[in-house]
Amino acid sequence: MAIQFNEHHFNDNVEKNVHNDFMRGAVASAQDHLYTKRLDAVEELGDWEQWRNHAQEIRQHVLEHLDYYLHELAINVEKAGGHVYFAHDANEANAYIRDVVRQKNAKKIVKSKSMVTEEISLNDALEAEGCQVLETDLGEYILQLEGDKPSHIVAPSLHKNKDQIKEVFVEKLGYDEQNTSEAGELARYVREILRDEFLAADVGVTGCNFAVADSGSICLVTNEGNAGLVTTIPKTHIAVMGMERLVPSMEELEVLVTMLTRSAVGQKLSSYVNIVTGPKHAQEVDGPEDFHVVVLDNGRSSILGGDFEEVLQCIRCGACVNTCPVYRHIGGHSYNSIYSGPIGAVLTPLLAGYDDYKELPYASSLCGACTEVCPVKIPLHELLLKHRQVIVEEEGRAPVSESAMMKLFEFGASRSPLYRFGTKVAAKAIKPFAKDDMISKGPGPLKTWTNVRDFPAPKEQRLRDWFETRDKGGNV
C-alpha cells in the first residue's frame, strides 16, 4: 500500500520517535508558531464561525451532488480543450499517466507538491518507465533526495533540521561543505538547480487543491511558485485530484481558498494561487499544449454515504495536525501513513484498512482540539470515536481482556447496589498497595497506569458514605 511507510507496529514507531528530540522540538515550535499565526488570521477575518459554517455547507453540498459536479467538471475541462480521466484506483491512474508520458515520449517530469500522487506512488510508476521525476516543492525535494517520507501534509520535511538538510545537500548535490546551513542559502542553492530542471522538463504533474466545476478550472495554492512553473514551462500538464476536491463555481472556490490559507499557515492568501483552465490558447507561447485531469476514487467512494462521509469535506489544510497534542509528541512518521495527525488517524484506516491501522483511532485523547480548528467542521474526534466503535462492535478486533473488562463494567455499573459494592471491594483490594495515599506499583489493570504515574489510594470513606452520615444528615 502506497500510503504506508514501513512494516513496524504503531507502538514501535512511537517508541522510536518520542526519542527523536530534534523532531519533537521542531514540531512543538512549528505548532506554537502556527497556533498564533492561525489565530491572528482568524481574528483578522472576523466572523470565523460563519465562515466555517459556510465552508462546511459548501463541502457537504458538493459531496451530496458529487456525480453532477464531476460530470459538469468533465464537460467544462473538455470544452476548454483538456482531457479528463476517471480512475477507479491507483493502478488505473498511474497507467493513464504513464500512457500520456509515453505518447509524449517524455523523459523529464517536474511535480509540485501533491498528497494524492504520494497516495498512488506515481513517482515509482514513472521511474519504472525510465523517467526522471523531480519533486519541486522545497520540502518534498529534500525528502526525495534521501528517499524519506513526508511527516506533515503541508510541511513535509518538518522533522528535519537545517544541519541534516545541509548534509543531504553536500552528499547528494555537491553543496560545498564550507557553505552555511542557513535556510536562505540552502533554498537559493536549490533554486539554481531546479531552475534548469524546470526549463528542461517535458511534463508537469500537479495535484489539485480545488477543481471548479462550472469553469473546468484547477486551482493550485503554493508559496514557492513552483506550481506556477510546473504549469507554465512543460508542454504537458497532468493534474491529479481526489474525486471530492471540487467546488461548484469560483464563488465557492474563494471561500475555501480563504479557509485553506488562513488555517494552514495563517496567511490571508498564499503567495501564489494559480487558476488554470484548459491548455494554453492558440496564440499563447507558454503554458501546456496538452492538459489532463485525472479524477481519482481509490477508496473514496466507499466512504461516501457512510458514517465517515464528513472526512471527505477535508481541504488538506493541516490545521488539525498543527494543533494536535498527540502529533506534537510523536511526529508524522509514527502514523506510518502519508496522512498523519488527526485527519490521518481518521482517513488512513478508511483508505488502507484496519489491519495495519487499527491503533490510529486510539492515538487521540479525544481532546477535540482538531474538531475546534477544522475550517470545514469535520467532527474529527467524533470520527475517531466512531472508528473505535467499529473496531470493537463490528470488527471485533478489541483485545479480549479489554472486552471482558468492559462487560464487567457494564454489568457492575448498570446496577447501583453492585456498583456500590464493587467500588467498596475494589477500594479495599488496592488499598494494601498504597504508600502515603499513593500507589506506584499497581496490580492487574492498574499497572499500565502506574507505569507512568502514581495512582491515588481510594479514600477510607466514599463521598456517598460521608454524605449519608455527616452531621447535616443524608437524604433520598
Partner: protein, 234 residues
C-alpha cells in the same frame, strides 16, 4: 474507467441514480463574505494594500501617468537589467514605449519582449536571464496585497515567474477588497458562457518557503523580490 460507471458508483453510495442533468440548487444558509462587501473608498483600499505589502516583502511605488516612466526607470535601475516585458498595448497607452524601446537599450539594459514570433525556448531563455519581469495587473486585492494576472497572447506567464524581480503596474481603480468581489465577476463571466483566460494567477509578493525549520525564506522558485507600481490617477 468509464465516466458513467464512475459516476454510477458515486450515485449508488448516495442511494440514488446518477444525476448529470439537473443542476443542484445552492441554498446557502451562511453568507459571511456578503458582509465583506467593499464599501471602502479607493483611498482606503490603497492604504490597506500598502500596509499589507509591508508584511509580504513587497515594495509599493506610487506614480501618476506623468511620473510613471520615471518611476519605472528608477525601479529597473535599482534591480538592474535585462528586463522582460509582455507584448502589451498598455505600455504604449501609459507612455512607457520610449523608455523600453529607446532609453533602456541606450543605457545597455536589454529589454526582451515576450512574443509568439520567437520560439518557446527563446522566450523562456530571455525571461530566465532577466533581472526584472514587468507585467500589468488586471485587478489588485487590498486585503492580501495581491495582483491578478491573466495569460494572453503577448502575456507570457513566465515573465512573472522566471526573472529575479517581479514588477507589476496596477491602476488604482482596479483595487478590490478581496477575492470575494473578483470571484463574483468570474462566476458571472462563466455563467455567460465565456471561457476564462488559460491562467489566472493571484500573486502576493515574491515566492517564499518555510520548509526548512519553518524559517521564512523569500525567493525560492519564483521571484526573489517584488515591487508594485500603483498608478494613482488611473
Amino acid at each position: 474507467m468509464e465516466q458513467t460507471q464512475f459516476l454510477s458508483t458515486i450515485a449508488a453510495r448516495l442511494q440514488r441514480t446518477a444525476n448529470t442533468t439537473e443542476r443542484p440548487i445552492k441554498n446557502w444558509q451562511h453568507r459571511p463574505n456578503a458582509q465583506h462587501d467593499a464599501r471602502m473608498t479607493n483611498d482606503d483600499l490603497l492604504t490597506t494594500f500598502k500596509e499589507q505589502c509591508t508584511r509580504i516583502h513587497t515594495d509599493v511605488v506610487e506614480a501618476t501617468r506623468g511620473t510613471l516612466q520615471q518611476e519605472v526607470a528608477q525601479v529597473i535601475k535599482n534591480y538592474g537589467g535585462p528586463v522582460s516585458v509582455w507584448d502589451d498595448a498598455r505600455f504604449e497607452t501609459y507612455g512607457l514605449t520610449p523608455l523600453l524601446m529607446q532609453t533602456l537599450p541606450q543605457h545597455d539594459i536589454a529589454v526582451y519582449t515576450w512574443s509568439n514570433e520567437k520560439s518557446r525556448e527563446q522566450n523562456f531563455a530571455e525571461a530566465n536571464i532577466s533581472r526584472v519581469g514587468l507585467v500589468f495587473s488586471e485587478y489588485a486585492l487590498a486585503e492580501s496585497g495581491t495582483v491578478v494576472l491573466y495569460s494572453a497572447e503577448g502575456a507570457g506567464k513566465a515573465v512573472g515567474l522566471l526573472p529575479h524581480a517581479f514588477v507589476a503596474i496596477i491602476p488604482k481603480s482596479s483595487l478590490l477588497l478581496r477575492m470575494t468581489q473578483l470571484s463574483q465577476l468570474f462566476r458571472q463571466r462563466v455563467e455567460a458562457g465565456e471561457l476564462l483566460p488559460h491562467a489566472i494567477d493571484y500573486v502576493s509578493g515574491p515566492s517564499n518557503s518555510a520548509d526548512i525549520e519553518m524559517k521564512l525564506v523569500v525567493g525560492v522558485h519564483g521571484p526573489v523580490e517584488a515591487t508594485y507600481i500603483v498608478l494613482t490617477d488611473c
